[in-house]
Subunit: 340 residues, 2 copies
DNA sequence: CTGAAAGCGCTTACAG
DNA sequence: CTGAAAGCGCTTACAG
């Protein structure tokens, strides 16, 4: 049934292979009569052209890869990734691309992936989720293959690579400024891992906001953690001795943990300590706690990533693209300040 | 750099294209000397063969598709899917396949997907996540293309299709039997949507267990819900009037909701009402609540799905495959009965 | 507007 | 064990 080739369609429509090909590819220079006849036969037979043959001759597969390197250990628990994939697949649908997904569960698997990723005639380009220093080597290896590549999440060394990220620095500044506007003075921060740019950039934003308001902070105001709830709890435990009146947690999960500790310590949010988180993914607890937070446009981020990658693919000469996306401060009640 | 072809390698190694091809494909009938020379040149040049050309001639792409039809609306919130994907990608890595992911966010997108899915020379086979009656049409359409297809989740009409599922009936029986063994007599159930086989099969298991112990139940013992926390809460509210001493919720999220209502009603779990859930995915609340539940082997399920699909692909004549996987009862404290 | 022919980069009988 | 040649199913100059 589907073992038809272009040639068979041509015969049945009484035209040449070339004409059928032109019709399929929506090219001009086909008479309306011929076009109709071909279209009819195609509908009748359910013909669809062989993808491999098209790829071979056109040098385009219309397939892009999403690579989650082994540094992404939270793929299975973090709702971030499904939302990212949602945006990516939406864009793929819209632009008629297919998504190939590569999840490197371990360093060994990651090694095995490389040849597949870089073999010609398979992917038109690749989105590499990154931001962690451990990804430096795979970024380098992929760069060498000349495969168009967009890194999602600013890489640690971003000299020659194209990347897309949210503006983490501006976002964190916004979060901390909000605490300052609420009248808080002793503001501390729970950061993500400082081996990643997400961790580093959100800390930079905190510093910027504090500095520009001439507020004091020191080493005891900054605790590095790991984006988990328990990590937030533990970090808050360390921070409490400096008697803060506000805490900025670089993720909602850590904010939730921090709040849990604050309550365990017999203190009140927001009265004693105001809290701002980061992410605003649909974690049930976030809503319950009425957490003020920074909303990441995750779905739009995925969508934009695909659009940017397509630009890279369609530009013949390599170009350097950097995209930073804006975030939004979502004011709830954890700073004692409701949205008006 | 990577614009090399087989022919270039052949020239540099002083052999023919055929020999290089044999070396790359690990075929016999190559002298050790020739093999070494070719391998050396390949390593030196970083050559990797063009995937499209290989696919065209071998009629195998080593790519499989995972299709999440639009009936899967919980992709972005349910941790089930990342775990499923974990298992699938692990198997893909092991068997040297690539995963193409198709998420049909809407019915319209799903329509657009079909030609891509069924176009020759692209996918060797497809795993279709299903179990919902709305998927009947896409199952049918894909069946017609002769593309090897495995449905993950028993489809409503399973006559001619290959599928893999967990043994939902046996699992639910096991869950309800446990409640019976704990001495409970008035056992009620919160089911999933009865438009899906997951919903139906887990209800069947409940009935089997109740019947074989000659326990009574009626229409008021069975409330259909939607797998969400709030749905579980609402369902429990309706069930409470029949004064149950135990409830089997067909998902952990619903069990969590049910427990919330039970507590709001001033009752105690497990003293007044014992609770068993279903899934045992790493939802933080499950642990906190010490919920007794059925553990689905989600990762292994994904892995096995790929292995089964590969069998289908490699069998020349179509075969009907049905795989049912076992589950495990995880005894915690929500039935007042700790594991020994 | 149309078709014959070359070619994309491989694999695989086939003959030696 | 080895290589020349055909062919996988398309697209795309090219000539008309």
């Amino acid at each position: 049934m589907s073992e038809l080739r272009l040639e068979d369609i041509a015969k049945r429509a009484g035209v040449s292979r070339s004409t059928v090909s032109r019709v399929i590819n929506n090219q001009p220079n086909v008479s309306e009569k011929a076009r109709q006849r071909v279209l009819e036969v195609i509908k009748l037979t359910g013909f669809s052209p062989n993808a491999a043959a098209r790829t071979l001759v056109s040098q385009r597969s219309n397939t892009i890869g999403l690579v989650l390197p082994h540094s992404v250990s939270t793929f299975f628990t973090d709702p971030y990734y499904p939302h990212l994939i949602k945006g990516i697949t939406q864009a793929c649908n819209q632009y008629d691309f297919t998504l190939a997904l590569f999840v490197a569960g371990s360093k060994e698997y990651q090694e095995k992936l490389l040849p597949r990723l870089s073999s010609k005639g398979f992917l038109d380009g690749v989105i590499l989720q990154s931001g962690h220093q451990a990804d430096q080597s795979i970024i380098l290896e992929l760069s060498k293959t000349n495969l168009p590549m967009l890194v999602a999440g600013r890489p640690l060394y971003d000299d020659e690579v194209c990347f897309i990220d949210i503006d983490n620095i501006a976002a964190s500044e916004k979060a901390v400024r909000h605490l300052i506007n609420c009248g808080r003075k002793k503001i501390v921060i729970i950061t993500g891992p400082l081996t990643s740019t997400v961790g580093l950039d959100r800390l930079s934003g905190y510093r910027n906001a504090m500095d520009s308001s001439s507020l004091k902070y020191n080493d005891n105001s900054i605790i590095e953690s790991d984006f988990t709830e328990q990590g937030g709890y533990n970090a808050m435990q360390k921070l409490i001795s400096s008697k803060p009146d506000a805490v900025f947690a670089a993720s909602d999960m850590m904010a939730i943990g921090a709040i849990r500790f604050i309550r365990d310590a017999g203190l009140n949010v927001p009265k004693d300590i105001a809290v701002v988180g980061f992410d605003d993914l649909p974690i049930p607890m976030v809503n319950e706690l009425q957490l003020t937070t920074i909303r990441q446009p995750v779905v739009q981020f995925g969508f934009k990533a695909v659009e940017t990658l397509i630009e890279l693919i369609e530009n013949d000469l390599p170009i350097i693209k950097r995209v930073l996306m804006d975030t939004e401060l979502i004011i709830r009640k954890s700073c004692g300040f409701e949205s008006g």
